[in-house]
Symmetry: C2
Subunit: 652 residues, 2 copies
């Protein structure tokens, strides 16, 4: 069993690497409660240590750094060059050509007047250019947030019967979304968006894509009487109960663009150099279809068009915000949900591109920027905006260098608002439907879903719940269900922590899971368990029962083998990162319980905080005595083996 | 630095205990998804392995074991002896003397007719004697559940204006409480009660004791017009706004018993042999006060009495249960809250005494017993009952051996119900108030609160929240707030896992936290981090930021010391018990991020499940390559040190 057992020069030291010198477990250096609280709060709310750069700087420099922290434009602005501007103007114009049709389409998705979508591509990008720290984010309305905003508000107010109230509620929701986003950043609670896991987002996005696409059946088929509901079943039944309303002209036009747009997308994906094919396709479609309608007077042949749009820049809307009244609860709730969803998209997109170009995006700072942008937006006739995924990807591919590309887009939209609005009068709704469908279908990520199935079946279930919840129940309920399941899983992990039985890997002092490493062997007389979670109120009962069952199982097994019974129960606490009062009493209870069976409880390597609490609770030193506390499992086994009587240990 | 560096017999093996033989990290033995799911479900729902005893038994024996499992009376019944009966009859009579005044008092606490309290001490103990597995639990109504039941139902229905409806709702709530309890046991979801931590319960009990005691001001001061509210402020203002209603005779009598009862309790606590002093005191108080009132006709001098009580056994009440109608929501909610609270008390009491006498109580089985007892109770005019702490303590001290003591108590209560009810006609309400106050004041556990303060400040805050929530807001809200804070703490622990920087303890291959063990030293060129929590969607963002910050901090520090930069980032994953898809992608992101800094990512000892998922996700073998995966930190450092160029490692 022992390869160099014949070497007896330093038997205790070299054989099985069993150091006879036993290292003492010492309590960590003393820190006061205030110090502990301070470091805990810092770890929780300032893990990125934003004040690090201010250290060891003169006062003047500190002011400059602070101003740069609040307004990142001060950081890159002074170094801005004509060369950068050339790149930014190309990318800015490219995203503008995408922003105009998208703005109109997404506003329709939110049941808002199309012009609001354009307003929302004018003011927020300017605000973001000053406050935002991402160089690639292109700001504007996004499909998911538009969909949620519309569907939540429609539950109480009809956009057709009461369009003014609906608009007021949309602006108010935008205000609360912004307020909520900015507060999250300011209070450094940004980690809340981390609770939307990748699996949830993939399921949610796919579900939302289905829902949104189904909504487009109205424009794609040319139906005039369409259901107001969002679910799969009512929408499909509404579409097929109104077959007499289907218009073949609309369907034909829709079909053509539904072939053209994905094709353009496909070309760009194959050859990233041809990014402008995909980026320009929506604007080309809009122009083409508008010319077609105008030329053939198709609006009189069953093809519905946008109609007359108002010219001019964003009118002020702060007098339209609702801060009281019966709809306050609705707008706050809508603001919360859309705020958190759009924030998730914005932050995720910002981080993705920052990682590609190897610069840092400060999550909490971004939240403040996006939040403030929405608060200002809500006062200037804009609805919820964020960093849009599709638009930012185009921006990045078009070679954007700084946030100036957002300014270029904003100016282009401004020109459109001032002078080009009459051109959109004949734009058919069907082309907008096709643009939306193409955009959202791209959100369905099959390869990622397959990867999730391969890695983690539970995450796959969460993903399916989000998907089916969104498709069959509602957007916000689907999301809530998926988040609840995810949190339940975390709680279950805490409630049912793993306990591993460790064995010795022969010839070493390494102890590893017996059921994983087949060459690991039990040491007779010892049951060595590793507890793999913080010990707290939610799992003490389970841990006690489970540990006692390990002893029973071990003794039954050993009984059959006619081997010795357990003398020592060694608990390896290396992985126990925290403990509370219930956890502390677990050890007292456990000690009593195992002593009744003639077993001694030995603890190994409790980490700082756990050790401190155990010492404080254990006045009588009956848990933490000198013979019951060791630094490593190997040392514990080596030190305790000789004390077992009538026991020939094969370890030392 | 190295004590035996001069010994060059086996330099690699003995110095710093650096084994040159590197152990391979192998994936755990293959198990199918079904097998994994099965073992996970077993660990979650059957951690106590209730079927273990059925293994390797003949069929006949299995049937007997099953019957004994469902009816524990079959287990101890056949061996029941006269000697045991003698003990049980003494303890049974003792708890009956406590049960009668307590039953009447607690029923009043729940705003129910006093007789219902006696009914509830008759049927449920009989049911428990057949189904229950605890030998010491004495069953009956308890103060906390009575208080909650009364206060929740009173919010919607007045027990004075509509006594019949109130009674119906109380029985219906009892039915749902029982149904809920039994289902928890049947579905093996008993761990839900674990979420009521010790700290929460201590704060909650103390708060409830204050609320209950304040309610007794009505009887203790003899006030007739008293507020219906429960909060501290309205109750005190009501008591002091009705000073004109105070009756000195009542106050005097109340004061006497409020001295006598705690005194009796004190005597018993000092000398456990005199348990009967405390156990008999309430009955003595009731008899004494009743005689006094009868002798002095005190009911005409401002002392209010219980009045005429109906004779006879429990009437059936199944026709009074509400399964529909406007109050269904209320009774289900009340049933849920009272059910879970009374279950917590019953299970905790059962476990406490089982631990004292060294036998096992099966939590899920007890839940079914208590639940069934309440369902049957609700059909026989009983309200919520459970294993009462005070009564069980008396039972245990009086020498109870089996559940027969419950039967004896039940028979005694039956005799009282049949023949002795007229005797209670003149019992003054003030003595019942004094009994309740004495009982609940005993629930305030100052030493435990001090212990919690000493061990864990956060638990103390949770305790205070429960206390002040109950006192100032409401019983159920206080409880909900405390549970929410506790769960939030768990989630925070998961969201912000600890990352420890490890250093080598000189002369060993032990690696421990640098900030805890001052003799641990850094190994130049290596940053060794231990991650102390499962890695999942809620913490990947944080972990990535935190690990990159560790690298920055380390490099800044080393820069000042003019030492070398980091070549390897070693992540010790021993304490990472689980991982999900987001966690898997963390390693890919991290690898890219550190490679940009010229650092190589090395993983150490991923446990079974984590290793499996990493392998499955890592098709290209870029994370889990042969040079980036080791079994121990020591082996990783030993193997990688020679590869660093221009680097004189002090480790090997």
């Amino acid at each position: 069993m022992e390869p160099n057992a014949s070497n007896n020069m330093q038997p205790d030291h070299c054989l099985g690497i069993t150091p006879m010198e036993v290292h003492k477990v010492v309590p960590p250096p003393h820190r006061s409660t205030i110090q502990k609280l301070k470091s805990k709060l810092k770890e929780t709310f300032f893990p990125d240590d934003p004040l690090l750069q201010f250290k060891r700087q003169p006062l003047g420099k500190k002011w400059i750094l602070a101003a740069q922290y609040v307004f990142p434009i001060l950081q890159w602005g002074p170094n801005y060059s004509f060369k950068l501007f050339k790149s930014d103007i190309v990318s800015g114009l490219t995203i503008a050509s995408l922003a105009i049709p998208q703005g109109i389409s997404y506003a329709k998705l939110a049941s808002l007047p199309p012009i609001v979508g354009l307003y929302s591509s004018f003011v927020p990008p300017l605000v973001y250019a000053v406050l935002g720290s991402s160089r690639d984010l292109a700001v504007g309305p996004v499909s998911i947030a538009s969909l949620i905003l519309g569907s939540m508000l429609r539950q109480k107010v009809s956009p057709i019967n009461d369009p003014l109230l609906f608009l007021q509620l949309a602006f108010s929701s935008t205000f609360f979304a912004g307020l909520f986003q900015a507060s999250l950043g300011l209070l450094r609670l940004g980690f809340i968006i981390d609770f939307l896991s990748k699996a949830i987002l993939i399921g949610f996005m796919a579900g939302a894509a289905v829902i949104v696409s189904l909504q487009q059946l109205k424009s794609l088929l040319g139906i005039t009487h369409f259901t107001k509901q969002m679910g799969l079943v009512p929408v499909l039944s509404s579409a097929f109960h109104n077959i007499n309303e289907w218009s073949w002209q609309t369907i034909l036009m829709g079909f053509c663009f539904l072939v053209f747009l994905p094709l353009a997308r496909h070309v760009s994906m194959r050859k990233p150099k041809l990014f402008w094919v995909s980026a320009g396709a929506p604007l080309v479609s809009v122009i083409l279809s508008t010319i077609l309608v105008f030329a053939f007077k198709a609006q009189h042949h069953g093809i519905s068009v946008i109609g007359k749009l108002q010219e001019g820049l964003n009118p002020p809307s702060w007098n339209m915000l609702h801060f009281h009244g019966s709809n306050l609860g609705l707008v706050i709730k809508t603001g919360l949900v859309t705020g958190i969803i759009s924030l998730t998209e914005g932050i995720a997109v910002g981080r993705t591109f920052a990682a590609l170009k190897n610069y840092q995006v400060d999550g909490n700072k971004e939240m403040m920027a996006i939040g403030l942008m929405n608060v200002i937006g809500s006062a200037t006739s804009c609805y919820v905006t964020t960093g849009a995924f599709s638009r930012s990807a185009v921006n990045h591919n078009a070679g954007a260098k700084t946030a100036v590309s957002n300014v270029v887009m904003s100016v282009t939209v401004m020109v459109t608002l001032l002078f080009l609005m009459p051109l959109f009068q004949y734009t058919p709704n069907v082309v907008l439907g096709a643009i939306i469908v193409t955009a959202v279908i791209g959100l369905i990520d099959f390869p990622a879903a397959c990867q999730i199935w391969k890695i983690d079946k539970f995450d796959f279930v969460v993903m399916l719940c989000a998907f089916f919840g969104v498709v069959f129940i509602s957007v916000q309920d689907g999301l809530a269900i998926a988040v609840a399941i995810s949190i339940f899983k975390i709680l279950l992990q805490v409630t049912r922590p793993k306990t591993l039985v460790l064995g010795n890997i022969p010839g070493t002092d390494i102890f590893r899971n017996l059921h994983h490493y087949k060459d690991a062997t039990r040491i007779p007389g010892f049951l060595i368990l590793s507890i793999e979670a913080p010990i707290n109120f939610a799992n003490t009962t389970y841990l006690k029962e489970r540990i006692l069952r390990w002893i029973n199982e071990y003794e039954t097994e050993e009984d059959i083998k006619k081997q010795s019974s357990i003398h020592f129960l060694i608990l390896d606490l290396s992985a126990v990162s925290a403990i509370d009062t219930s956890g502390v009493s677990l050890f007292k209870d456990l000690k009593k319980a195992v002593e009744n069976k003639g077993v001694e409880l030995v603890l190994v390597n409790p980490v700082g905080e756990v050790l401190e609490k155990l010492i404080r609770a254990d006045d009588a030193r009956d848990i933490m005595g000198p013979d019951t506390l060791y630094l490593t499992v190997g040392e514990a086994v080596a030190a305790l083996s000789p004390t077992m009587k009538g026991q020939s240990s094969s370890y030392v």
